[in-house]
Every structure is written in C-alpha cells, then in structure tokens.
Amino acid sequence: MDALIPPLLNGTAQGALLLLAALGLSLTFGQMGVINMAHGEFIMAGAFVAYLTQLVIPSSDISIPVALPLAFIVAGILGLLLEVSILQWMYRRPLDTLLVTVGVSLILQQAALQIFPAQGVPVEKPGWLDGQIDVFGYGWPSRQLFTIVLAAVCVVALAAWLKYSPFGRRIRATVQNRDLAETLGVSTRRVDRLTFFVGSGLAGVAGVAASLIGGTNSQMGAQYIIPAFLVVVAGGIGQIKGAIIAAWVVGVALAFFAQWTTGSLAQVLAFVLVVVFLQLRPQGLFTVRTRGLA
C-alpha cells in the first residue's frame, strides 16, 4: 500500500491535467473532425494569460481565479480566428487540417518566443494552493487537488452544456446530420464557430492549470499536444467519458512507470500501452456505433 498510494495520487493529478488538455481537443476533433495541432499553443496562450494577469494583479491569490475566465476567452478567440480564417475552408479534409494547424502551431510558438523570454516566465502559485491535504495518511499537494477539481468542473460544465443548453442541442444535431440540421434552421456555421471557441477556450483553462504545475514557456504546447491526442485516440474520439478514463489511466501509468524507470522511458512505455490498447479496440474505448464500413 505504501508504494501504491503516492503514484496513484500523483497519477490522478497528472491525468486531470491531461484530461483538461484533451477535453477541448476531443470536442473539436470529435464534433468537427478537425485535428488541431495548434491546440498545444492555445494551452500555452492560457498559461501566458495567467502570467500577464499576475502582472496586473500582483496578488496571486486573486490573479489565478481572474486568469481562468480570461484564459478561456483569449484562447477561445484564438481558436475562433483560426476557424474563421483557415479551418472553415477545409472541413471533411481531416489530414489537411492537421497540416495547416502544424503551420499555425509553428507560427504561434515562434511568436511566443519573441514576445516572452526564451527560458520562460514564472507564474506565482496562490497562497491557498501552498498547503497539503491528508489523503490516506499522505500529504497531497493542494495544487494537484486544484487541478483535479478544475478538471471535474470543466467536464461537468461541458457535459451539461452539450446535453441541456440549446447550443449543445444544436451541436449534437449538427454532428449527427449536418444537412438535416441545416434544413431545420440550425445555422451550422455558427455552431462550428461556437464549438471551436469553446474547445479552444478549454485549452486556455488547461494552460492556467499547467502554469501552476510545470514551466511556462514557448515550448510547453509541444509537451502537451501528443499525450493529449493519445488520450483522445485511446478514449474514443468525441467521447467525454472515454477521455476521462483514458486520461486517468495514462496519468497513473506514467506515474507508476516513472517510479520504476526514468521519466522518459515512462513516456515510451505509455506510448506502447496506447498502441497495444488500440490493438484491442482500434476505435478507442467508446465509439459511436455506425453502420459505416471503415
């Protein structure tokens, strides 16, 4: 038990951060078929918003709660700009959206490198995240607990929004049958834009959480994008419950592997784990059942 609990707790927190990073990605990938490689840079944008907010409001106790909605809006607007300027021309060409967003990701990374110092900027942790909370007799950093709560709030909010709000209903209608939805008066263009705004905004929230745990620099997006995609792929595209389970499993697996080997070998093993898993379930954990052949 003594050897199990710390990696389990760490892994859960790591999984929560992965889930935050993957949530918006799963929305835009699943609902719209857009593979957004610049999602990592939207996470980075959120982290820099946390830093900039802190410059205006020096007390980190207040700046972080203020930064969360701000980061959502800033990253959301970035996503909206991307959708309106480029992506709307290439729906139904998923591999091309991947290539285009690789380019956008390079541009955003370089821009961040020129605006902010190369070694990164510090984001102060709020005082109320300094302490530890006892779980099964182990001190659990409240920073990690904060990530978990934040991820839970985002998941519940997103699920409720998709399920109960009129916009959510329109999104689901558009995904199921775009032409029919349009005939029934849903503006699918507006639905696309809104979905992208929310999906990208979630990356901004993930960025604030990431700035409290890891470094904040121009390279951070690249760190998150591949693990986040692995979570989406393993969980089943566009499946929130799949993403939750996959993120938790990958996070815990990384924490356990890291305990036995080095951190980088842990990443390799986590990758192998996902490939092996895809052998069992090529479409991910949960799939939308269709009668399609492929």
Partner: protein, 355 residues
Amino acid sequence: MTRLRPWLPLIGIGVFAIVLLGVAPAVLSMHWINNLGKYCCYAIVAVGIGLAWGRGGMLVMGQGVFFGLGAYAMAMHLSLETAGPDKIPTFMILYDPLAPLPAFWEPFRNGAFTLVVIVVAPIVVASILGFALFKRRVKGAYFAILTQALAVALATLVSSTIRETGGDTGLSGFKYFFGYVLDDDRNKLMLFFIAAGILVACLLVVWQLNRSRFGELLLATRDAEERVRFLGYDPANIKLTAFVIAAVMASIGGAMFVPIVGIITPQEIGASASILMIAGVALGGRASLFGPALGAMAIGWGQSSLASSWPGGWVYLLGLLFVVVTLFLPKGLASVVDRIRGIVPRGGAEKGVAS
C-alpha cells in the same frame, strides 16, 4: 511523342542524375557540395515519404524515428572507429571513465554489421508497428499522431540516456568513415557522390514501384481501401510494404547524414525534425516522383541559408508554408507544373482517349 510519355520520368531521372552527379560537383565549392550532400540525405527520406504518404495515403509524421535508427547506428560505428580498437568513445570516458562499453555498442565495431543494422533495424521496427496498426485498420489521423508520438518518445529516450547515446549533445567528433579520413576534401566528395547516387537509386526504385502492379494497388488502397479489400487483396500488406520501404529509405538517409554533417542529436530525430521532413514533401508535391526530393532539398537549403541569418523569420516562413501549401496547393508545386503542362495542347491521339 505519345510513345515517349511513359519513359519521360526515366529521362527526368537521367537529367537529374547528370545535373546532380556531373554538373554540381564541377561548379560548386566544397562547402556547397557538402551542403548539397546533406540535402540529398533529406531528399532520400522525402522520396520514401512520397511513396508512403503521396502514393499510399499514410501521413508518416514520425519519420525521424527511422532516420534516427540509421543515423545512430552509423554514428555509433564511426565513434568506435574514431576511438580505435578496444577503446571507448571520449564522451563515455568523460561521463564515467571506469565503466565498460555498453553491450549494445560492442557489435557496432564491425562495419558490415553496422550496414546490415541500417537496413534491417527499420524493417523490423516498421514491420512491427505497421503490422500492429494496419491490421487493426488504424489509419489517417490516428496513424499520423501515433507515428509522431513514437518520434517524441524516441527523442526523449535518447536525450535521457546520456552515457549510452550522448544525450542531448548527441554523437559527434568522427574522424574516419570506413577507413577514409573525413577531414579530406576528396573523401567528402566521395560521400557526396554516395548520397547523391543513393538518391538517384531511390528515385528509380519508386519509379519502378509506381508503374508496377504494386504501385497500382497502393494507389487503389489510398483512394478506395474497401474496394481493394473486396477484390481479395489485403490492404494491410500493401500499406505495410510501402511503409517499410519508406522506413528503410529514411534510415539510409540518416546513415549518410552522419558522416556528411558530422553530428547527430535527438533534435534531428524528434517531432520538429519529423515535421520538417513532411514540409518538403508537401511543398514539392507528395504524389509526384520528383516533388518530394526537390521539395526536401529546397527546405534543406532554406533552413541552412535562412535559419542562421534570420532564425525567427525562417520559422514563420515554414509555418506560413504549411498553411499556404495546404490551403491553395494541396498537391504541392508539382501541381503547378501539371497545370502549365495542361495549357500546352497534347497530341491528337491522346485527346480522343481523354474525353
């Protein structure tokens, strides 16, 4: 003219070979010959990507993995050759003077073994990965993301094993290449000729594959995988073959890169390096014969001439290139050539068939 058409690519390869192997060494300085040799290495990788992605529809975003297999195998051999018999490379002594040579390094003292590994290692790795993915019909974006994840994983693994692979600083300081002194212009010229010759050979291989039954099946699999399956072929095997050939080419490109450039680091095999390999292929035209090679050479040239004088601008340019090419020229610059060719009227015999 019409009878000549199928042979046009072959004539093109001939002209390309004459320019690369005959004209270029005569007019370029040694510095640029060495650079051109490096671009040839990227072009070898690109020809393979053109086969897998352009003809086969598999976007391989982790070609750095196979590039790295060949490059590190070669670099290990050259390090050991430089160190001398029974000695261990300098960087290992600096790290821990008493520890012995890691066991997996020992066979690389043998040159022939190294050459075999350069070809066999990518075949083994690509077969296992390809078999696992294609048999379960993992494709498209899933495939692209998984291959990129593999490149990230390999680069972090290499970075973290300092004593075994040199870590972030990589392997460098080679003095000999199979007995030839590297710091000698004549030998550098020889290396260029080897790389350029391999590039021409790869073009010939892909040309021959494209016009074979296999090439037609590959194209058919890209465009209508289900129909190919219904016709009784296994698309997994077709894709696997193209993927493995592309991997071998990438590995050979990596192996030649090491003596020509003189260093290999995890940065050269990681995610961004793999993306750079894609960029050239996309720019040139992924489905064309010459597009990938010429695109890769252009990107290589752009990187070495612009990245040093204007590093930030180069990245912006590269990013913009991805956006513009994908939006407006999905078939790359090769499609511009085709369009121009379309304006010129063709022979009457062909017109009748075309309608």
